[in-house]
Structures are given as C-alpha cells and as structure tokens.
Amino acid sequence: MTATAEPVAQVVSGLKSGPFHDRLVAHNRQQAWMNWMGYASPSVLDSVEFEYFAIRNQSTLFDISPMCKYAITGPDAEAVLNRLVTRDIRKLKPGRVAYCIWLDEDGQVVDDGTVFRLSETEFRLCCQEPQLSWLEDIAWGFDVSISDVTRDIAGLALQGPTSCALLKDLGLAGIETLKTFGIAEFAIGGADVTISRTGFTGDLGYELWIAPADALTIWDALMGAGKLRGLRVIGYEALDMARIEAGFLLPKVDFLSAQTVLRPDRANTPYELGLEWLVTLDKPHFNGRRALLDLSGQTPPRKLVAIEIERDKPAHNALVYHKKSREVGMVTSALWSPTCKRNIAYAWLDAPYGQSVTTDLWVEIYLQKEIRWQRRMARCHPASRPFFSHPRRTATPPADY
C-alpha cells in the first residue's frame, strides 16, 4: 500500500497571522496554535522541555506582538499614567520601564502591565487585556492623546543567559550597559529596534520592539546570530513554566480582572494578590486610592500565596486543606520546577491561612495512573516569591555564558 495523501495545509481558522507568522509556521512542528488576542500564537513548537531548558540555559525567542500596546502622549501624559497606576510614575525617568497594576474605584485590580517612559511626554503601556475604553475614561479631561498601537508594533522577547552575548554578536554596541528596566534604541540589519531589558522569565532577557515591516529582517538576523548561542523559538507553555518560577501572576489564571468578573467578590485587591509593594498611597489621587486606603488597614479575607509542596507531583487545580480536613483554599498555577528542583504553586488561601496560620497546610493532589485516579495529601508551606531569580537578571554588564 502506498500513501497517496499530500500533507494537508494547516488551516488556522479565524486567527490572524502575526508579523512573524511565516517564520513561526516553519518552526512549528507541532502546529499547536492558540488564540492570543486574535493572533495565531504557538503554544509549543517542538517540545516543552527543550524550550523550557533553552530559557534557562541558552536563549529563546517568543513572539509577544499580540500583547496590547497603547501610546499615551501629550502634556498631561504623566498625570494620566499617575492617575491610572498605583505606583508613582513621576519617579519613572525617560528611558525606563515600570511594572504596574491599575485598579477600579473599589480598589480591585483591573490589569497589570509595563509602563514604558519613552520621553517626558510619551509613554507606552503594554498589557494583556484590551484597555482602550478604560484608558479613555481615565484620561477624560486631560490634555493627552491615546492610541491603540497593538498592531503597529511587533514585539519579540529574547530571553536567556546568552541573550546579551547574542545581541553583542549582532554588533549592538553598548547593549551590555543597558540596565534592567532600561530602554535603548539600536539597529539590526539596517532596521530600527527599540530594546528594553524586560521580560517574563526572571532571568537575563530583552524585549525588542519593531515596526511590523521590519519584523522578518530582525527575526532572521537574530536566528542567524543565535545559531552559536543555542537560540530556540519557544511557545507559550515553556514560558508559562518560567513565569511561575519567576513569580509573575497571570490574569485569567491566577486572578480575574475586576472588569471581567460576574460575581462581585471574585475581583482582587493588590493586598490579596501580594502586590502591595506596587502601591504608593501617598501620591496624588489615583484610581481606587480611597478604597485602597480603607482596605490597607484590614486583613485581606483571602490571599494569593506562593507555596512549596513536599513530594514531586505538580499540584494542578488542587484544593488546600488545614490539618488535612478543613478546606481553606485552592491552587491556581502549579509546577514541578526543573530549575529549582522544587514543587511550587500559587494558591488562594482564605484568612487566616497563609497569613497568620502557616503550618499544617496540605494540598490534595490527584494523580491518574492508567485511568485510575489516586488522591495524595502532600504537605505545603508558604514560600516567598519569586521561586527563581538569577543574579544575572540584574547584573550589568551581564556575562556572556
């Protein structure tokens, strides 16, 4: 018998091809696409393990073009951002980036993201969820212009220990002096690229911001230079492992945006999310400040805590118990961390568990062995976030590895 069928071309129904799609298609052996803001985005290209270890040991490319991006410019741009986010944006200098959260009037988190200060009067906001109408509300009455530049800027995350060396190989003079959360302008293969030393992996890494027309030129240059640096294209799943280790929360997974919840008690305050370090209460009014002021004196009714679990089975979707009997919470993200060699997770724990009561906590892990479910009780302990952060993340200049 002979096989006559030609391979059928993959139909990515309803999804838009991003600026790097042609190259991603070529690399995507699994053809495992997911929908990220309407773009076809790879969840895995080859194998999760290879991709994950490349993040930690070599360097990786991840297409972040689908991320929502907004340009906020004008004389009042600083005031608008300062009204939006809980940090004091007046302290953010041009050429710097800050990780921020923003709240609704009840002090519940709407979304998180990064604020890029490109100049005194020009900012860019990068985030997961569409925010245009929210931004328009926040900016109403201010002398500022806001535009959605999501589709106008292509983005690539270049992360991993050899990422700086790779960029140096490309002749990016001075890249090694770029500090964490710094922004600088370069050219690669004749195309302009804005590079920020930011990322989602808790390791050395950069994000490259490019005009969509130059996307493939820059991709090819990076891939060319990356051959000797172990560069690998990765998908979402490997990145998700790295972000759990790095202590980053994911909207829709670890918490819900205050704007999307149907039940009023499902939204979360920064205190519940353990993000109080992002809140500056003694700055001019920002959205949700008064509600937060009230909440700041109270014990949160529940808290998202990082936990470490004994034994080695990842605790996906596990329930958490006190003294093995009283149900006190649930796990949102979980992972056997290959780098930390620890079983880690984030879990919502009802007060006082995880706050004043931190002992005798157990997770109930379900394991399937040949269509038989087994239940394991494993002890867990609150841990500090992040689980993984390498000194080279902030070292300037970073070593070549």
Partner: protein
Amino acid sequence: MSARYDAIIIGAGHNGLVAAAMLARKGRKVLVLEARDHLGGMLGDADFRVAPLPYALRPEIIRSLGLPAQLMGTSKPVETISFNPDGPSVTVLGARTIGLAPEVAQTYATLRARLGRQAKALGVMMLEPPPGLGKASLGEMTGLARMALKMRLLGKTEMRDLLRIILSNVWDLLNDEIGDGPLAGALAMDATLGGAMGPRSPGTVLTLLYRMASHSAHGHGLRVMPEGGPDALVKALSDCVTAAGGEIRTGTPVEKILVDQDKTAGVRLQSGEEIAAPLVLSNVSPKTTLMTLLGVEHLDGEFVRRCRNMASKGMVSRLDFDIAQAPTLGSGSTLQNGQRLMIAPGMHAIETAFNAAKYGDLPERPVLEASYDAAANRLCVSAQFTPHDLTGGWTDDVKARLSASVLAVLEDALPGLSSAVTASRVMSPVDIETGYGAAGGHWHHGELRVDQLLMLRPFDGAAQYRMPVAGLYLCGAGAHPGGDISGAPGFNAARAALRDGRN
C-alpha cells in the same frame, strides 16, 4: 491665603443660602460666594428672573431657620388656569376646578385626593438624606422606613395602586381617569415641566407626585406665592445668613475648589484670591462642580464617567414680554398677579411639542407656563421643549423665531397681547447654563428621573451630598430631592455636613 472660614458656600442660589443659614446658625463662620451681582440664583434676578414662581419652600425649613411665618403662610394659594381652545378655560386649585362637567370634576377631585395622599407619603423622603446604596446605616434607613410606613398607612389598595403607577406615565394614568383635554394638559405640564420628558415618558407619574409633594401652611400640593414675591423670599434667606454672622459676597465667581491631601482646603476666586476653609458646599450643578471647579484628577474614572453621563439636557427657555397692563383672557377677565396660565390644551399638544425637541428641533407650538408680574409689568413665560442641544445652535435668529412662535401661541389665550408688547427678552437653556453654571441649563440641575433620584441623585455613588474629596458637599438642586424652589437640598446638605463635623 486670606481670611479663614469654617465653611464656604459656592453660589448664593436659594439652596446655597439655606445651607449657609443652617451652618451659620450653628455657629459656623460662613462665607457665601456668588458669581453674579444678585442673590437667590435662578430666583433672584429681578430684571430677568429664571424662576418666577417660587412656591415650594418647605415649611420645616422656614421653621428651622426662624424665617417669618407669613412669608409662605398668609397669601392665598394661587390658581392655575389651563387654556382651552375649544371652550371655556379650566381653572384648577388643588382638588377644586371650575369649567368642567360635574362628573369630570368629581372624578378629578377623587383622583387628586388619592394622588395627594400618595405624594404626601413620598414627601417624607424629601427632607431626609437618601440612604446609601448597599451599606446604609440605621440612621439613613429611618427616612426610607418612614416613607414605607406612610405608604403602608395608605392602605393596601392605595399602596398597590401607587406601586402600579409610580414608574408609569401620566399619559396612561390621566387617559384612564379623566381623558385628554385642558385639565389633563395642566397636570401633564406639572409632570413634565423642566424635564426632557413628554407625558408618554415613563416616570412622569413620579415627577407629578414629586411636584404634588410640595407643602405649605395651606396643605400639600397647593401653590403659594411668598408674601412680597420672590425678592422677599431671597431677602429673608440672605438676612437669615447675615443675622447669624455669615458673610455674603456677590460678583465673586469661584474658579477652583482647592484640595490638599485629598481634603477640601478652600477655594480660588477668578480674581486669583484664595480663601481657606475645611468645608465647601457647592450650590452649583454637580457636573460643573465636579468637572470644572473640583477637577477630574481628584476623582475615580468610573465616578467621572457617571457624572459625565448624568442626564441634564435643559428643555425650558424663559421669555419675558413687557406690557403696560395685565393681559386679558379671552373670557374678558384679566390674568392676576402670580396666577399661573398654562397653555397646553391637552397631553397630545405636549407630546407633539416634545417630539420636535427629542430630535434637537424647536416645536412649532411650544407649550407654555405663563404668569403676570404686576410690579414689573411683565408677562413671564417658560417655554417647554426648547432643547439645549438645538440643531444649528441658539443664534439670535432662532431666539427671534422662538419669541414669535411663543407670542403666536400666547395670542390664542390672551387675544391682543402681541400688539401690547413693548419689549421682550429670550433666555435659552444655553444662556441659563452660561449664566448660572447649571449644566445643560437644566431646571433641576439634572433630570428628575427614576435613575437619578433618591440614592441615585445626582448619580450613583454621589448621593448623600458628600463628595469623594473629604469636606466637599453638593447643596444645590442636583442633589436629593432635586429642583424647584424648595430649599430641601440645601437644608439636607447642611445637616449632612454638620453631622459629619461632629464625628
């Protein structure tokens, strides 16, 4: 910063004066700042009075401020004459009518008595701060509880009837009970006057009851012109402020409410002068107070959105016609000083006039409330359904056109009027907005609509007079219970501020 006060009241409208008097009488050092050169706000300009018929000042306020009792007590309740193009006009005074067939008059009297009882139950809430949404304190609930009790006391049938009609429209109610015509027209005018609603709009039974909830020494829902007219009322109020040690400055527009550490710190005048006070009560409409005087940067985005979306499209223009003597009705009698003449021959005419306004046009035949001011030799007319957002804008030509069409309508009821007019003036909703800081030029500083009443007045999250910046209060018609010359918002706001000050 110059002198320091315990409280500054922005605007010397009648509500601002009531609030100032309340605070001053409690020993607070009070300063009232008024942009215009006269006191009393829309009630106060003797040359061109926006609100010529100030009937609704609450007796409780008169008592509480120790105003002379005869101010609202001694003069006779005034009649409303509703013009009937097809026969004799109908005269209405409370439940009494002249010019109707006896059966209709009887049916009306019964209806009026029922509505009166319901309005009275509703009226309990007028001098109570609205309860908070969700987290009302026990004290705040007493007003609601008393209203609920009053409603229960109406008896099962009447309470059920109230709940049935309260959100419905006067068109259906009146058609069912008395049929269309000049009587229905007069009632429907009361239900819709000042609002962007026609008789067929839902919620107009509620606005009718709101007007009928007014209260005087003569009872509920009757209209009483103050002894000495509007100016006497304004003078009594301002005298009350100054007698208690309060200061009033006219011709001093406030430009900005000053905020320090999220608390009210005082105001800055247009002249640049800054005056300190930890408490500021604004008599200016909510939108203008919050968006312009305070500034959105002090407010949460959602709060600002709700404020921006607050319905406050003004619908009424004021026209004055100078005439040497009292205008004569078709019947031969003359219009008395302060008497109300309604030219809205039926609900149909009102709804038709509203149709044009809905789409930004002037009605061909506006419906009118007119009164004769004998002292000034002037016919004062409120022309309903002349929208703030008029297509093409309020040019002089348009005003002249409106004036002509109003005069044409008046001529039917007051034959010979046109030739007696020696001068006339027109004030559009836009003029009212620019002249008084009332957003949209709205009669009530914001539409009296179910979604903008009680704990939703002026809008969700801004009820109970206190604004998000500590020490700032709304004390004008935009706040609960709303517009007309009742003094209730000013009274309630001052009490809220005093109560907070005690804590």
